[in-house]
Symmetry: D2
Subunit: 144 residues, 4 copies
């Protein structure tokens, strides 16, 4: 049995609790939370009909949303409530119907209440679909 | 009866055609296209249960999506297909359940194939919820 | 004689004091402070030999620096010390040797300690050279 | 004697040629080019009196300029002329008089003519001073 640190266990608990309550990510978007560790998270989403815009590709807003959710899990993983102050995204490749998008977010900096997180969205061929950078601000409260 | 220029009529036609085909914005998100004029667009979306994250506020990704759609209508309004190359957003206020978010996008620059668009999302009290800046790239093709 | 409000007079005093102390903007870069009013500032800089990079155009970093200084005057104009938390810039046209760049910054939002400022850099032909958006955070202290 | 690939030798040559011609980075700012390898570059700059703003800290524009130069060497290292289309920066710590800032830039993506580069500025204590992300566009021409 693998040993896990208290911080790792806490992050997993926070992730599970947040995901259960996050109707937007879970139901409306159909995301899956792959894991949530201290400062990091991985999510996955398959591109379906409901995600397509008028050009029959995944709406860029939903690729952002996948990255933004991953960022949210990563920046809340320390069990201090954090919200997004802002973010930027670069779109590199479209998401096609049926694509499975995997999204990995990692803490780059956490200083006082403010954090920076880099998030990368890739498709099932390992191609980078988008790069996202989010800035978080911790507010009062805990998640679990 | 108000006179309208050919460019204005074209933008309205492009907007209507794009919106009819944009399942993500129309059905999944529940947006409304208020108008589409040359270089500009206005959209509206009410925050509903399906938009809420685990903090019971509108998922920031959906506020981005509203802004990104508005940007898409504005940058395609000249009837040359344009895609988003990247965007940034600053979140100023949360969107609460029941809020009616109005989103106005305006072309700031269009030089060659590349454009910059500023988009502002406000709530029914006139408070600014988010500021978005999108960068577009025209590709081959027309919309109508 | 034009009537000026106390806020306008204060902003002008803050601008003059900051500019006198700002060796980087004044001496190293050769900027001029055109005006500083509540939430706004205008600066000017001529592109000289010392600003040129290896392509013989103005170093993009110095165009950013012009915008960043203008942003600093605008966000400090209320006489509460504010620092830059971050910024983004889009480069639209190069600055050529001899160009006179005028830079106008305007407050878009100021909520609590956090502000957003849009800054536009134009050349002597009225062409937009760069668009900048800065995010400020007020810290303790006053300027004058 | 270490073997070096042709790409590595070319990048070193490009770096040397660009740096020799870049008066802004070399003379006006006082930067040093530490190395230039394919897709990457490292530069260094000591904060001196000429870099200080009215708060007696390094002008944020000059921290950006250091990152922007590093980005320029990284994105031109393939010997295809590339220019900056845009960039964003987050300021995490001020640069103090005497600090030695080391700046490392790395290619994250290069697809067609468009690249994304992440650049980190650290001080002599290993603390991150700023994080920068630049977007490049290749144009016609070679550097050496």
């Amino acid at each position: 049995m693998a040993a896990t640190s208290p911080a790792t266990e806490l992050a997993a608990q926070v992730g599970a609790a947040m995901f259960a309550a996050d109707r937007a990510s879970r139901e409306t978007m159909g995301m899956e939370l792959v894991n949530c560790t201290p400062g990091c998270a991985t999510m996955r989403m398959q591109v379906r009909e409901q995600h397509l815009n008028g050009l029959r590709i995944c709406h860029g807003g939903f690729i952002f949303t996948l990255a933004d959710s991953t960022f949210a899990f990563a920046c809340n993983s320390h069990n201090k409530v954090a919200v997004a102050a802002g973010a930027s995204i670069e779109f590199l490749k479209p998401g096609q119907l049926g694509d499975v998008l995997t999204c990995v977010g990692q803490e780059q900096s956490l200083s006082g209440r403010h954090g920076i997180y880099d998030v990368k969205v890739s498709n099932q061929h390992g191609e980078v679909v988008a790069m996202f950078r989010g800035k978080s601000a911790q507010i009062a409260g805990t998640l679990v």
